[in-house]
């Protein structure tokens, strides 16, 4: 699938900052494609999953979800709402060690894939 076909035409060609951003996004996408193709993305996902369970993050999130449901009442909560409310808490409480490890792995990958 040609990605550019699906991209919405909202770019301001005169803005250099936007250009820079466009390149950044493209680079991120390229890395992502390479990660997926090589199967490394799956490995990284599994790693993150394991680490987040080990350090208790998953349980924290479950408790947070329960608290929210208790507050709103079981019938009034949707999955979307939970995601909306819990995601910021989740992102904020990921331990630095997990972030560091993931970053390290991705850096190694980039080097080894000669990007």
């Amino acid at each position: 699938m040609n990605h550019s076909v699906n991209r919405s035409p909202t770019l301001d060609e005169d803005d250099a900052a936007d250009d820079f951003e466009k390149d950044e996004v493209t680079l991120r996408e390229v890395i992502n494609i390479k990660l997926v193709e090589s199967g490394e993305k799956e490995n990284l996902m599994e790693l993150v999953r394991d680490r987040l369970v080990e350090c208790g993050w998953k349980d924290e999130m479950r408790i947070a979800c329960r608290e929210h449901v208790k507050k709103k009442g079981r019938k009034d909560v949707t999955v979307d709402e939970l995601i909306r409310v819990i995601t910021p808490k989740g992102r904020a409480s990921v331990p630095d060690s997990v972030k560091a490890e993931l970053l390290n792995r991705i850096q190694n990958f980039i080097v080894s894939a000669a990007l």
């Binding site: 699938m1 990605h3 699906n6 991209r7 919405s8 992502n32 494609i33 997926v36 193709e37 350090c55 208790g56 998953k58 349980d59 924290e60 479950r62 408790i63 949707t78 999955v79 979307d80 995601i83 808490k89 904020a92 409480s93 331990p95 630095d96 060690s97």
Partner: protein, 557 residues
């Protein structure tokens, strides 16, 4: 290996899902069969041909949650899924690409359909080739014997029913009576109070099913703990409110457990287990047809026996080996209740992240911890059948069958063999008066591995989906044994719930207390009963009885 649809917890479908099912049936689900990609740990994703990275067809994003429409197979992100429904009438149901779970775009919420889950999980199970190692216990369980406790009413040979209780000023329920402390025996009194007021046990003894006058062991001059309990039951329900001394039972118990025959404080839980054990030994010998306690018809097992399931999964290939073990109580760890060690708690604080709201430990937290998937250490590698060599594995416990009476023991006493020290964990544990055990059943725990599904695994639904006689997972508390003080010099007190009111039983002193007092206590053993048992007991306690003391005077005690 059969997979059955269980009627466990089938939430009602929304209108949109019903409409979809009417129109398309399960064909839509089945058409996705080739698109499922299965993983060893139970995860199932949707994998479209030729597309490595699925993207939203409206905004091209790939990082968000994506849904694939069941009808037109177009992919939308969470922001645009509503738009998709609005633009395409009838395209309401979609599947979460990452998790293979149903989603209703119109309701903006997850929905459930057991037929969908069946299609999804069947695919997964074929791939995994789950194996079940069944012991004799499982064979017995699968033989479809419905074990129902026929608890007879109090109206037995010993009591008469009268329309009005003569002792009107004594408003305590029948059977409530203090127990004298015979020298650090509060550990025994606490357990006795709980057992005397456990409906199945109370009914068993009061209806004369172990009559000390007819007991063969006793006539032979042998020790018989059930006979001693018969004496106690009679005494407790005699109508006499003066504190009773359970000396016979204490003496008999000493004779059985000579190492514990001291005037030192003992562990209430240890006493509980040993007492039930003795009852089984005395009662069960004649009634126990099988080696294992599974089908034992003694009162101990009828009341307290449940079945635990243990799954050991190879982390490499995902194949699982399952074993079943009976239990008469569950001991819960209090320490790591929040799922993380105290060390991680500190780490979070230092890294400046939001402080782990070290919420109060709760009973559900303990039960979650008990049923967690535990990675076994590298030194505990097990031989995996399908890999053919020793592999790292994970273990997970769950409850296959719930007992009539559920005793939950909170492990507050830690004995360290290495350091030869013991300590007591004093932290407060929050617990509910009504407890729903379904999240800890094997069907729920196993099911969670496969994402959010309604599905019966490996015949798990068999026992639960049977007719009205199937036990529910709803429990109500009827007794709480608490321990206060230090390890060596503490004190046990029992709170009993009778006819909706709470009573504090502190050795010889009984008084009614407010609910809050019980909620705030330091629980050590929690006694729950299936709600129908409690409901039945309520009715039974409503009968006013004239005691034997009036009609036939009590000879001893």
């Amino acid at each position: 290996m059969s997979a059955r649809i269980s009627f466990l917890k089938n939430p009602d479908p929304c209108n949109h899902l019903s409409d979809y099912k009417l129109r398309y049936g399960t064909d839509g689900y089945k058409s996705f069969n080739n698109l499922f990609r299965c993983f060893n740990d139970g995860r199932i994703k949707i994998k479209l041909q030729g597309i490595d990275i699925p993207r939203c067809s409206y905004c091209s994003v790939y990082q968000k949650r994506l849904y694939i429409c069941l009808i037109c197979r177009s992919i939308s992100c969470s922001s645009h899924i509503l738009l998709h429904t609005q633009l395409n009438k009838g395209h309401d149901i979609a599947i979460d690409v990452e998790r293979s779970e149903l989603y209703c775009c119109a309701c903006i919420d997850q929905v459930y359909d057991s037929e969908f889950d069946e299609v999804v999980v069947s695919k997964q199970l074929i791939g995994l080739g789950m194996s079940v190692k069944s012991g004799a216990a499982v064979v017995a369980v699968r033989s479809n014997k419905k074990r129902r406790l026929d608890s007879q009413l109090i109206i037995g040979s010993k009591f008469l029913v009268s329309p009005r209780d003569r002792r009107e000023k004594w408003t305590f329920p029948l059977g409530l009576r203090g127990l004298n402390n015979l020298g650090s025996t509060c550990f025994m009194n606490a357990v006795l109070q709980a057992l005397v007021h456990a409906p199945p046990l109370r009914n068993f003894w009061l209806s004369g099913q172990h009559n000390r006058d007819l007991c063969p062991r006793r006539t032979m001059g042998l020790l018989c703990l059930p006979c001693d309990l018969d004496v106690i039951f009679s005494a407790m329900f005699s109508g006499d409110r003066t504190p009773y001394s359970p000396a016979h039972l204490l003496y008999s118990w000493w004779q059985h457990s000579t190492n514990l025959a001291t005037y030192e404080q003992q562990d209430s839980h240890e006493f509980f287990i040993s007492l039930l054990d003795r009852i089984h030994e005395n009662e069960g010998k004649s009634k126990c047809l099988y080696q294992d306690h599974e089908e034992c018809q003694c009162i101990t097992h009828k009341a307290f026996s449940g079945l635990l399931r243990s799954d050991v999964t190879c982390t490499t290939c995902g194949s699982t080996s399952t074993t079943y073990d009976p239990f008469i109580d569950i001991s819960l760890t209090l320490d790591s209740v929040n799922g993380f060690s105290p060390a991680d708690c500190r780490k979070n604080r230092y890294s400046g992240g939001p402080s782990v709201n070290a919420t109060m430990p709760t009973l559900s937290g303990c039960l979650d911890f008990f049923t967690r998937s535990e990675k076994l250490g590298p030194d505990q590698k097990l031989n995996c059948q399908s890999c053919g060599e020793k592999r790292e594995s994970s273990k997970q416990m769950s409850i296959r069958r719930l007992p009539l009476l559920l005793c939950l023991h909170v492990k507050r006493f830690e004995h360290s063999l290495t350091r030869k020290t013991s300590r007591k964990i004093d932290s407060y544990l929050q617990y509910p008066f009504r407890l729903n055990m379904s999240p800890y059943l094997s069907s729920s725990i196993i099911g969670k591995r496969f994402g959010n599904r309604i599905f019966a695994f490996d015949g798990e639904g068999e026992y639960d989906s049977s007719s009205s006689s199937s036990p529910s997972a709803e429990f109500e508390i009827f007794a709480v044994v608490t321990h206060s003080g230090m390890l060596e010099s503490g004190h046990y007190v029992t709170y009993l719930r009778l006819k909706g009111l709470w009573y504090r039983c502190d050795d010889a002193w009984i008084n009614e207390v407010e609910e809050e007092v019980v909620r705030g206590c330091e629980c050590y053993m929690l006694f729950y009963a299936q709600e129908r048992v409690i409901q039945k007991a309520h009715k039974e306690l409503s009968y006013q009885v004239i005691s034997m003391a009036d009609a036939f005077p009590f000879a001893d005690c």
